[in-house]
Structures are given as C-alpha cells and as structure tokens.
C-alpha cells in the first residue's frame, strides 16, 4: 500500500498491462485495425502537413513581393502602365522607391512550357529578386565578351532549355527575330516555388523581347518603409491614378493562406467518407465479441470486476490502438512529405501546369496541425468504441458461464 495516488497509478498500470495482454491475444484482428487506421491517419496527416509545408513555403513568395504593386486596368483588363505614373506617384509622401517592372509569359515551343519573364531596373547590378538567393554561373567578363544581354534563370528553366555548361540562349521576339541572352546566374533550388519558371533580365531587354513601347511597363513596385502607412498610401495612389489597381503585400498573403486553407479543407471533406467508413469498421470490430472474449469478461465479473473496470480495459485497448496508429500514420505522412515531396497530394494543391514549380514543402509539425489530425481521426474512433465497449462489459456472468 502507499499514498492514494500511488495506488491509483498502480491500478492504471495493471489495467494497461491487462489491456496489452488482451490486445496481444487477438493480435490479428487488432493488427488489421491498426494497419487500416494508420492508413486513414496517414492520408489525413499527409494532407494537413502538406498544406502546412506549402503555407511555410509561400511565405518565401511574400519576401519577394513589394509592399505595394500598382497595375492599370482598362475595361477590366490589365494594360501596360505609362511611365508618367512614376512621377505622379512620387508626389505621395512616405514612399521610399518606385520601380517599374515588365513581366509576361514566354511560350517555349520545344518543351511546351511557359516561362515567366521579369524585366527589372538596376539589372544585372542589384539583386534580381529581393530576398531570393542566387548562384552565379558565369563571370561578367564572359558576358561582355559575348555581348549578349544578361539573364538569371530558375533551375527548371535551365533544365528545360537543356543548357548544360553553355551560357548563351536565344529567344524569339514576336516578329520571330532572335534575341540572344547570356546566363549570369541561377536561382537557388530551395526557392523553387517562386523562381523555378523565372527568367529575370534588364527592363529594356524585356521590352525588346516583348516588343513593348519604351515608355511602358507592366506594373510599378512601390517600397514603403513604414508598414503602418501602407494602407493609407495605397488609398492615396488609387485616388491619384485613375484606372489603377493597387495591391498590398498583406492582401496577397491573406489570399495565399485563404486559398491553401480552402483547398485543404475541401480535401478533408472528401476524406470524411474514409473516416466514416473506418469508424463503422471500428464499431463493428468492437461490437463483435468472440466467445472467448465473452467468457473472459464473465470470468472477470465473477472475480468481482465491475462494468466500469471492464470498460476501462476496453478504453485502454482503444487508446493503445489509437496511439500506435497515430504515431505510425503521422510518421509515414512526415516521411511522405520529406522523402517524396508529398507526391500523392501535390497535384491537387499546386495545379497542373507543365512547368509546375518543383517545390519541396517544408515539413513543419505544429501543435495545431497535430490537434486537427487527432480530432479528425482518433476522436471519432474513441467515440465509436464507447457504446460497443459498454455492451461487451455488460455481459452477465451467470448467463455466459
């Protein structure tokens, strides 16, 4: 004997011991449940962890987004922005810099892929994309020697163009004349979500490639040092520039999160059917007691066990099954994300374009996600086994023996 809590602890340990023994005696049946349950948890957890990883990766996108983007709409369609908008916007206080940008899509016929071309000012001098790591592939002197326009490529573009060790590449203008480029750098692979389909070049080269008029740009990138002023400045710009569409960084971030959240929620709704089917299986397995199990309960009752004790054993059994299945399922899901980049669900969450960003979702395990996976899988199982456990425990010793 000892203090109350020690007795209680010893009781729980003995119950657990008995439950483990009981699980082992019906190991084929319980093993089957663990396998199926692990699979269900694996699917739910993969989905959730995948989304968490994508949310994490999308914050990398936000690092490259300017505080305010100004576009021009005519009849609801996006049109080039005239450069006099730059001077006009400069009159608003609180702006650090305004940079025009030219961007668009270039269809590469050989590979059937669309590349995203971005033309920026201060290129190749400054950072091609703020906050994105880049590795240089050729020295500046080599570019000068070749006398082609400098360009920085994403990893996938580099592969699609099959450049190998070569640095020169030609693209077609709209009139099918060729424009030559020399590759001066590649974006780092870990920024794949943002940069895989990118070709960054000087703004004048981009205008030349797209045959855009010299006084036009696609949009304006505005940097605002004080984050509290972003919304006010955005409103002033909207009033000053008729026909403009002004987008702030915060809006883009919220849209990303809402889109990922919605998609993963929809996916989870589809998985509810799987969980429901499993719950029915669990109910059925828990309700169907074998004659040996009935005799066991009857014997325990004869020895003085109460209904509550037998139910406690059944609860322990369910808990052990849940914990094992939860660890196996979540572990497999984690491995699925880390080692296979989540190949099962990636198409659903990222889209189907030819040049899909080959992104590696960062495997983040957050408390919230674990809780969601737990509530969506373990809780229905535990809830479904209460009533069968009680029915099994209600067996009358005199009737069974």
């Amino acid at each position: 004997m000892g203090p109350g809590y020690l007795i209680s602890l010893r009781r729980q340990r003995n119950l657990l011991d008995f439950a483990l023994g009981s699980l082992w005696r019906a190991r084929w049946k319980n093993g089957g449940i663990v396998v199926v349950f692990s699979l269900v948890i694996f699917i739910i957890a993969s989905f959730r962890l995948m989304v968490a990883g994508l949310e994490q990766a999308s914050t990398a996108v936000l690092a490259t987004v300017p505080d305010i983007t100004v576009q021009r709409l005519v009849a609801g369609r996006q049109m080039p922005v005239p450069l006099w908008w730059v001077e006009e916007s400069g009159a608003v206080f609180g702006i650090r810099s305004i940079k025009p940008r030219v961007w668009g899509y270039y269809f590469h016929e050989t590979s059937g892929a669309n590349f995203t071309i971005i033309g920026v000012e201060d290129f190749p001098g400054g950072e091609p994309l703020p906050g994105v790591a880049m590795q240089a592939v050729s020295a500046d002197e080599q570019v000068e020697e070749n006398q082609f326009s400098p360009v920085v490529l994403g990893q996938a573009v580099h592969q699609m163009l099959a450049l190998g060790d070569r640095v020169n590449v030609s693209l077609f203008r709209p009139d099918l004349t060729l424009k030559g480029f020399s590759v001066v750098g590649l974006f780092a692979p870990q920024t794949g979500l943002v940069t895989d389909d990118l070709m960054v070049m000087a703004i004048d080269d981009a205008r030349d490639l797209f045959a855009l008029a010299p006084h036009n740009a696609t949009d304006l990138l505005i940097s605002v040092p004080n984050p509290l002023e972003v919304d006010t400045i955005a409103q002033k710009l909207m009033a000053k520039l008729p026909g403009s569409r002004v987008i702030t960084k915060a809006q883009i971030g919220k849209t990303y999160n809402a889109a990922f959240g919605w998609r993963s929620g929809f996916g989870m709704i589809c998985l509810i059917g799987t969980v429901a089917a499993f719950v029915i299986l669990a109910w059925d397995k828990a309700a169907g007691l074998s004659p040996e199990q009935r005799r066991e309960v009857a014997l325990l009752k004869t020895l003085g066990w109460q209904t509550g004790d037998v139910m406690a054993i059944r609860f322990m059994e369910s808990l052990v099954v849940c914990v094992v299945a939860f660890l196996v399922g979540t572990g497999l899901a984690w491995a699925h994300i880390v080692f296979t980049d989540g190949f099962l669900f990636k198409p659903l969450l990222l889209g189907w374009s030819v040049l899909r960003p080959s992104l590696s979702p960062v495997p983040v395990i957050r408390f919230d996600d674990v809780l969601i996976i737990f509530v969506m899988s373990v809780v229905p199982y535990l809830a479904a086994t209460i009533v069968p456990a009680w029915r099994g425990a209600m067996i009358r010793a005199d009737a069974t023996l």
């Binding site: 959240g261 609860f315 809780l371 209460i386 009533v387 425990a393």
Partner: protein, 341 residues
Amino acid sequence: MLFEPFSLALLGAGLISLYLVLVASFTAVQVIRYWDLEADDNRQIELEQRTWLSSALVQGALVLQMVSLVIMIGAADHFADLLSGAMCATGALTANSFGVPALMVKIVTLFCAAIWLTINRIDLSVPTYPLTTAKHWLILTLLPLICLDLGLVTAYLALLRPDIVVSCCGVIFAESTPNGFSLIGLLPTLPLLGCYGALVGVLIWLAIFMRLKMANGKTIGGAEAFVAGLGWPLFYLLSVVVITVIVSPYVYAMPHHRCPFDLLRGSYGWIGYPLYLSLHGAVIAGITIPVTWWSARYPGAADTAQRIQRRAVPGAMALLLVFLTIAAFKPLMYNILGGQW
C-alpha cells in the same frame, strides 16, 4: 469559412460531443424517472448498468469540449492571418457577433465539465451511488449547453468572410475610443487593481481558514463554500480583465496593444499557456470546494468529498500563486528595470 481545416475540426468535435451527450441523455431521462436503489427488478439492474455508459459518454464529451476550447483559440489565431484587418485572435473572434459568445459558452462548458466530473467521481466511489440522480439532471442541463455551443460555432464559422474588414485589439480593448466600440474600456487602473487585490486577499484568507479548519478535523461550512462559490468565478472574470488591460501591454511592450490572445503566440514566449493553464486550474480547483461541500451532504459521499476538498484547497492556492507570479512578472520587471519609480 466552413471548409477550413480548423473549422472542420471544431465542427467535428462539436458534433461528436453532441452525439455522446445525446446518447447519455436518453439514459439520464430513464434514470431520473425510474431510479430506485431499493428495487431489485430487471429495470433497476439495467439502469445501474446504463449509468456506466452515460458516465463514460459524458466524460468523453467533456474532455472533447476541453480540447475544442484549445482548437477554438488556435482557430481564431489562424483566422487572423486570413481576415482583412485582423492582426490577432481578437479581430478574428469579433469578425461577427457569434465569435465571442461561442468562446464564452465554451469556457462555461469547461467549468460545468469540471463540476460534473467531480460529482461523477464522488458518486462512483460510493457503493450506493448517492449522486446518480443529481448527476443525470446535470447531463440534461449540459445538453442545451452543448447544442448552443455547436450552434454558435457553426454560425460563427459560416458567417466568417475573409473579404470583410474587421477591427483589431488596439481598437477593441482601448481605454476610450471615439466611436465607442470597445469591449473593455474606461476602466481606471488603480480601482481595478485595488478590487482585484482585495478579492485575491479574501480567497487566500479563505483558503488558510479552511485549511486550519480541516487540520483541526472540522468540515467546511456552508458560509465558506458560498464565499468560494462566489469568489472564484468573480476572480476568473476579473483576472481576464486584468490580463487584458494591465498585464498584456507590459508583455507586448506597447501601451495600446491590449490582447488576451497574443500572449499565446510564440513571439511572446508562449507566456499565455502557463498563465491561462494556472488560471483555469486554480478556478477549477476553487469551484470544486462548493461542489464537494454540496455533495458531502449526500449519505456516504462525505469521505470522498472531503478527500477531494483536502486536495482542492491547497491545489487552488498553489495554482493561484503560480498564476499571480507569472502575471506580475513582466509588469514588475518593467517597473523595476525600466526606471519607472
């Protein structure tokens, strides 16, 4: 935003709780109508078996409700990243008129759960099950609470729109705002702290008094139980106000940032978790005192009830001190190291 994973988890938890309590309610109705310990007919034997089921079901539901409170806070925090204008959970919860009531009902359910679990424990420890009828009445009162919770959560989630601009805690908990939209405002700090200190003093004095009484082999009287039953809920409400208005700006080091939820964020060292855990633990232990006093009057229940009391009183005190230490730490450090005095 019913399709959000957080929403699905919340709705799932709510639906499963409702299912469990609903099944238990059928037993509750039968127990209330036919329970008669003296009888030895088949119906009584079946009822005695059924009470095990209802206990297990309600225990499951209440534990699930506690988990769902944690999910609700996590969800509100997550929704703040999706809603325009929301910077933390306060903005997300006030995005429509159902968020705050839903949270309140969840907190009330948490305390009801603690009361029910205590009564259940006392009841099961006595061979004559003296509290069975009372316990099942309580199940019937829990049922509308769980329904209300599910209804409010569903309404809150269904009406949550990412494109509607919401307010942030800087506005909601500000001292006085021109548009009068303020949850906690115009509360003078010194009188508030004075009331709070007096209440804490009363609770500590009460605990010492009860401890001495129990040490002398006496039992806790109705007056002490009454004061504890009144004092601890009041302490809970005042604590939430004090955390929001006085403690949180020191943690954030921003006079106008008054938010009870940002404390749970990693950027503030997760200080909210020990703070709220100790607060809720202390209040639950505190309200156990009147519950056990009431249960002890049933025949045979006194032993277990008093054993729980002997743990609840020092438990509540220890948790109260932990809570006060955590709550006072940042303001004190600021005032001592910040050269305010």
